[in-house]
C-alpha cells in the first residue's frame, strides 16, 4: 500500500508539471496582445515598432531561447513567483490570497451542509425505497441536478433581494466575517451551491446504501433483533461510507469549482471566480494563469486524496498489480 501511495503522489507531481508545461506552451505560442498594442502605439508616435518590440522582449526575457524561458517559467511557478497583475498592481499570489477567503466563506458551509444533507437524505431514500419520501427526495435530486445554477441564482436574487428585500443585492466586503449582515448576504450563495452539489451526492449515497440494504449481513442483523438505528449506522452506513468518502473529495471539488465561478459573478462576491473572470475580461495574462492554475492543482490534489482515501479506508482493495 505504501508503494501505491508513493507512486500515486509521484503521479500527482508529474501531472502538475505536465499542466504547467502545457500552460507554458500555450502562452509561448500565443501572440502577446500587450506587445502588439505597444508596437501600434510606437508606430503612431513615429517610433520604430521593431525596436520597441525588441526592447519589450528583452525586458521580459522573451528574446531568450525556448528552453531558457521554459526553465525560468517553471522555476518561477514552483517557487510561487507567479508574476505581476497589471490590472490590480499587485503580485498575482497576493491577489489570490486576498480572494480565497471570500470563496471559502460560502464554499465551506456549503460543503458541510451538502455532505450532511446529501448522505442523510440518500440513506433515508435507500432505507425507505419507493415510499413517498424517497420519491420526494428523488424529485429534489433531479431538480438540483438540472437547474442551471446561475439562472437559479439570479431568480433567487430578484425574489429575495429585489422583491422581498430580505437579503442585500450587492455583496458588501466591509462587514465583519462573523456578523449577521455577512450571514444574510451569504445565505443565497450557500443555498445555490448546496443545491447543485447535494443532488449528485444524494444519488450516489442512495445507490451505495441500496447495495447493502438487501445484503445478507443486514438481514442477519435484523433477524437477530438489532435495532433499526444500529443497522443503519453499523451495517449500512459504514460499508457505504468508503466509496462515498472518495466521491466527496474528488467529484465535489470539480462541481464546486465550476459552480462557484458562476455564483461569485452573479452575487458579486470578490472571490477566486470573480478574480479570474475580471482577469479574463481585462486581459491580465498573469492573473488568468494564476486563477486557473489554483483550481487545477486543487483538483489534482483532490483526486490524489480520493485515491489514497480509497486504499486506506478499504483494505479489501489490493493495488499490488497497478
Amino acid at each position: 500500500m505504501a508503494v501505491y501511495i508513493l507512486r500515486r503522489i509521484t503521479w500527482a507531481i508529474v501531472a502538475s508539471l505536465i499542466v504547467l508545461s502545457l500552460t507554458f506552451l500555450l502562452l509561448y505560442f500565443t501572440p502577446d496582445t500587450q506587445l502588439t498594442e505597444l508596437q501600434f502605439q510606437a508606430a503612431q508616435a513615429g517610433n520604430d515598432p521593431e525596436r520597441v518590440g525588441e526592447a519589450y522582449e528583452r525586458y521580459h526575457g522573451l528574446d531568450q531561447p525556448i528552453h531558457v524561458q521554459y526553465l525560468e517559467f517553471m522555476t518561477n511557478m514552483v517557487s510561487l513567483n507567479w508574476g505581476w497583475s497589471e490590472t490590480r498592481s499587485q503580485p498575482v499570489t497576493t491577489a489570490l490570497v486576498e480572494a480565497i477567503p471570500y470563496s471559502m466563506m460560502y464554499a465551506v458551509p456549503s460543503i458541510l451542509l451538502s455532505t450532511i444533507l446529501g448522505i442523510g437524505i440518500g440513506l433515508y431514500s435507500a432505507t425507505h425505497q419507493y415510499t413517498r419520501g424517497d420519491y420526494a427526495a428523488t424529485a429534489f435530486a433531479f431538480f438540483g441536478l438540472s437547474i442551471p445554477d446561475f439562472w437559479f441564482a439570479i431568480v433567487l436574487l430578484v425574489v429575495f433581494g429585489g422583491m422581498l428585500g430580505w437579503v442585500p443585492i450587492l455583496f458588501d466586503t466591509s462587514v465583519a466575517t462573523v456578523s449577521y449582515a455577512n450571514v444574510t448576504q451569504l445565505l443565497l450563495p450557500v443555498t445555490v451551491l448546496t443545491l447543485t452539489s447535494v443532488a449528485s451526492l444524494m444519488r450516489y449515497s442512495r445507490a451505495e446504501a441500496l447495495e447493502y440494504v438487501e445484503a445478507a449481513f443486514v438481514k442477519t442483523a435484523k433477524a437477530k433483533g438489532v435495532s433499526d438505528r444500529r443497522i443503519l449506522y453499523r451495517h449500512i452506513f459504514r460499508p457505504a461510507s468508503v466509496p462515498l468518502a472518495t466521491i466527496l473529495v474528488g467529484d465535489l471539488v470539480g462541481i464546486i469549482f465550476v459552480a462557484s465561478y458562476l455564483i461569485e459573478v452573479v452575487f458579486g462576491i470578490p472571490g477566486l471566480g470573480t478574480l479570474s473572470y475580471r482577469a479574463i475580461v481585462n486581459q491580465d495574462t498573469a492573473l488568468v494563469v494564476g486563477t486557473v492554475l489554483v483550481p487545477t492543482f486543487l483538483t489534482i490534489i483532490g483526486n490524489l486524496v480520493q485515491d489514497i482515501a480509497y486504499t486506506v479506508l478499504d483494505p479489501r482493495i489490493d493495488y499490488g498489480d497497478r
Partner: protein, 393 residues
C-alpha cells in the same frame, strides 16, 4: 458463412476451405448504403474545403456550411446509421425496448419534449430570420401578460389602464434590444442540441475506441491509454477552455471540440471495465476458436455489448455539456455570434425586476432540456444496468 456447405451435408473434412476463402464475401446492401452515405459526406467536406468559394458552400442556394455544421451533419448521420437504422431493422427488439422504456412516464414525456425541441430547433433557424436589434421594439411583454406602460418604448399591443399588454406578434416578448424572444429561444434550441450531440458524439467515439482497445489488447496498450486517461481526468476541462477563450477568443466550434476531445476519460473507463468482462465470456472465446479476427470479435461481440453502458453514460453527459455551454455564454465567454440560451439569460439579468420574462423564459427551456436528458439517462440506466436496483422496471 457456411450455409451452402451445410445444405449438402458435407462432413467437416470434405469442405474445401480454400474455395470458401476464395469466394469473396458479398458486400451487403446495408454496408454499401452506409459506405456511400459517408462517402457523400466526405465528398461534401472536400468540396467545401477545396473548391467552394470563400464563405459560401452552395452559393445558388444561399447555403453556407461552416466546420460546425459539417460536424453536426456527421453526428446526425451517425445517429441515423447506427441508431435509427438498426432499430427499424430489428422491429421485435425495438418493441421490447419500447415496452421497457414506456414504464417510465417521466422519460417518455422527456423524450417527446426533446424530439419537439430538436425538430423546432432544426427547422426554425432555416425558416425564421435571425433576431434583430430593434430598439423601438424593446421590452414587449409576452402574450396574455402586461407590464407598466413606461417600460416598453413603443407598446405594440393595446394599452389598457396604463399597462402595456403583450400580443401574438411577440408571443414570448422581446429583450431590451428588441429581439424577439421566441425566435431567440428557437435559435438557442439548435445551439444547445449541437453542443450536446456533437460533443457527445466525439466523446462516445473516442471513449469507445480507447476503452475497447485497452480492454481487448491489454498489455502496454492498456497501460498507456489508461495512464493517459488518469491524467486527463484530473485536468478540469472548464478551466482549460477559459484559458483558450482568453488566448484565442471564444467560438462554439472550439468549445465543442475541447469538451469532446477532453471529456471522454470517465466513459472510456466504463467501456474498458465492461469490455474486460465481455472479453472473458464464452461466446467471445468460441468466436476466437472459430478463427474470428480481432476486428470481427470487436465489432460483432464487444461493441454491441458495451453499447448499453455507453448510451447511458452519453445521455447523462449531454445535459452537463449543455449546461457548460449556457454557463459560458452567460459569462460572455462563449461564442458572441451564436444566439445561445445562456446569452439570452444574461441579457435580461439587469432588468429582471421590471422585465421578468427575458431571463426567465430561456431559463425554463434550459432547465427543461437538462431535466429531460437526465430523466432519459436515468431510465436507460435502470433499464440496462442490472446492478442499479432502483427505477420502475
Amino acid at each position: 458463412m457456411s450455409s451452402d456447405s451445410d445444405s449438402r451435408r458435407n462432413t467437416f473434412e470434405d469442405v474445401d476451405w480454400d474455395e470458401i476463402d476464395d469466394t469473396a464475401r458479398p458486400i451487403s446492401h446495408r454496408a454499401l448504403a452506409i459506405a456511400s452515405a459517408y462517402a457523400i459526406f466526405v465528398g461534401g467536406v472536400a468540396y467545401d474545403v477545396l473548391l467552394a468559394p470563400e464563405g459560401d458552400t452552395i452559393a445558388s442556394l444561399g447555403l453556407s456550411l461552416q466546420a460546425l455544421d459539417w460536424l453536426y451533419i456527421l453526428t446526425l448521420l451517425t445517429l441515423v446509421v447506427f441508431g435509427l437504422v438498426p432499430l427499424s431493422e430489428h422491429r421485435r427488439m425495438t418493441a421490447h425496448y419500447w415496452n421497457q422504456f414506456k414504464k417510465n412516464t417521466a422519460a417518455v414525456v422527456s423524450l417527446g419534449y426533446l424530439l419537439v425541441v430538436f425538430a423546432i430547433g432544426s427547422i426554425g433557424p432555416r425558416v425564421l430570420e435571425k433576431p434583430r436589434v430593434d430598439a423601438r421594439n424593446a421590452y414587449q411583454p409576452p402574450v396574455f401578460t402586461s407590464v407598466e406602460s413606461w417600460l416598453p418604448v413603443d407598446c405594440v399591443g393595446p394599452v389598457v389602464n396604463d399597462r402595456c399588454h403583450g400580443t401574438w406578434a411577440h408571443p414570448l416578448g422581446t429583450t431590451h434590444e428588441g429581439k424577439d424572444i421566441l425566435v431567440s429561444v428557437i435559435y438557442g434550441m439548435e445551439v444547445s442540441m449541437q453542443v450536446g450531440l456533437i460533443a457527445a458524439f466525439i466523446t462516445v467515439t473516442i471513449a469507445t475506441v480507447v476503452g475497447i482497445s485497452a480492454a481487448y489488447f491489454g498489455g502496454w496498450v492498456d497501460t498507456v491509454l489508461m495512464r493517459y486517461v488518469d491524467l486527463q481526468i484530473t485536468f478540469p476541462t472548464f478551466f482549460l477552455y477559459l484559458v483558450v477563450v482568453y488566448l484565442y477568443g471564444g467560438s462554439l466550434f472550439s468549445m465543442i471540440v475541447i469538451f469532446g476531445l477532453l471529456g471522454w476519460g470517465s466513459i472510456a473507463r466504463i467501456v474498458r471495465s465492461e469490455a474486460l468482462q465481455r472479453r472473458e465470456e464464452t461466446y467471445v472465446l468460441a468466436a476466437k476458436n472459430a478463427g474470428a479476427s480481432s476486428s470481427w470479435t470487436i465489432r460483432r461481440h464487444l461493441l454491441p455489448n458495451v453499447s448499453n453502458s455507453v448510451i447511458t453514460a452519453a445521455t447523462l453527459l449531454i445535459p452537463s455539456l449543455i449546461l457548460f455551454e449556457a454557463s459560458l455564454a452567460f459569462l460572455g465567454l462563449g461564442d458572441p455570434t451564436v444566439p445561445s440560451w445562456g446569452g439570452l439569460i444574461a441579457s435580461g439579468r439587469n432588468d429582471l425586476q421590471y422585465a421578468w420574462w427575458i431571463s426567465t423564459i430561456p431559463g425554463v427551456f434550459l432547465f427543461g432540456t437538462i431535466l429531460a436528458f437526465n430523466f432519459i439517462g436515468d431510465a436507460l440506466r435502470d433499464a440496462f444496468d442490472p446492478r442499479s436496483g432502483g427505477g420502475t422496471t
